[in-house]
Amino acid sequence: MNMGPVRQVLVAVVVALLLAFSLPAAAQEKSRMDVVLERGKLIVVTLTTVPPFAFTDEKGQLVGFDIDIARLVATALFKDPNKVEFVSVTAEGRWPAIESGRADMGVGGTTTYPDRAIRVAFTRPFIDSGISVLVGKKSGIKSIKDLDQDKYTIANLNNPQMADRAKRFFPKTKVLTFDTPAAQFLAVKSGRANALQIDTPSAEYWAAHNTDEMEVLPGLLGASQNNGIFLRTGDFKWWLWLDTAVAEMRTGSWYPQYSEIYHKWFGKNPPPQKFYIQQ
């Protein structure tokens, strides 16, 4: 057996490792905020396939709740909502885009989880988003408890949080994993799966657009979740400003703009600005 390929493999591994170690160790001397202000434009990484948070309309424009939030941030920085450039990626492309410095911050239905926070920093949530279950009407499933039988199958997205939830709430249900929300939806539509789990706003969006076939089960899977802006870790100045901006949207001077965007995408008012002020 000639040793050609084995020798090559060793060389290949060495080259690959060299590539790995040459990766970003850029020093943290200048805050990303100064870079953004100097550049005069905000670069935001986002998914493009998660309605109503971030998706493309008929004319191919990137629209959605998270997109408008990002434009609001740009307005604060440059007094112009168009001083923003969106970099679209698929799910797993979000983290390297931030780490490599290709984008200043990220949005797009990105839920905050402790293990994710090791690699990227999150601001406080700009929207609470629970996880709901969407079922086909013909499946006869009326509640989350009904779903917990081995004759049913659920379609998950390819992230570990969905897998954990499935184990916790319906351990007996069989699980399929897909890499895009549309594939999840299609699995239910084609009968490959009886239900799927997705952020509540998305579930409501789909149910609204497929009223005859789909419905959202009452109740959330676990507590409400936090979708926030994510950025590179260790950049206190940039994180502090973004976090303050989000705080101002939900409870401060930007509440009017925030609730306008919220109403536009979810058809109802956001939670009250202050717990002691009733609508």
């Binding site: 170690f21 890499d179 594939a183």
Partner: protein
Amino acid sequence: MSFTRWVAIYGPTYATALVWTAITALAAACGAIVWGCLLLLIRLSGGRWGARAVDGYVQLFRNTPVLLPIYLIYFAFPLIGLPWPAVVCGTLALILQNGAYVSEILRGSVNAIDRVQFDAARSIGLAPWSTFQKIVLPQVLVYSIPALGNQIVLLLKDTSLLSAISITELTMQAKLLTEQTGAAYEAFIVVAVLYLLLVSGTEVAFRVTHRAVRWL
């Protein structure tokens, strides 16, 4: 977290994914070769219509991305009463597309066979089917081994597309780990090295088979 520590912790999780990739690749490879031979037979014995039909088939699959058949078989077949499991659908899609490439490779080798051999076979009264089976196919397959090797390597890499229909093979595993740990480089560099090993194994296998042919 350093690269080696990440590999130490998460490396083993690639095991099942590696098995999935290897199984689907192996099954699809065998299927594609058999399907390629059948297409060749149809082209050779089916007269003008046979050749034209196979040409149409090959042009269709050569000029479209493999994602469409993968989606079609997995999501549409249940609606017509064929709810095959994901692995079967994915493998079948790879077979249909790569079978087209295999038949083209085999067709190239048929030209390499000296015309005189067909006359010789006919002169000893061999029926068309046994001529194909005994004379044409063995030589064509052996002449094509190097090209088939390259095609199977391409097929092996195409298995990464099966993550679209819930098969947790290597690339899907890298995506899962990237989501889970945010460590895209580490996840994908490990997957790159694993693919390199699978590809090297395939190339060595084809080289050894080629050399083992005594009459070449």
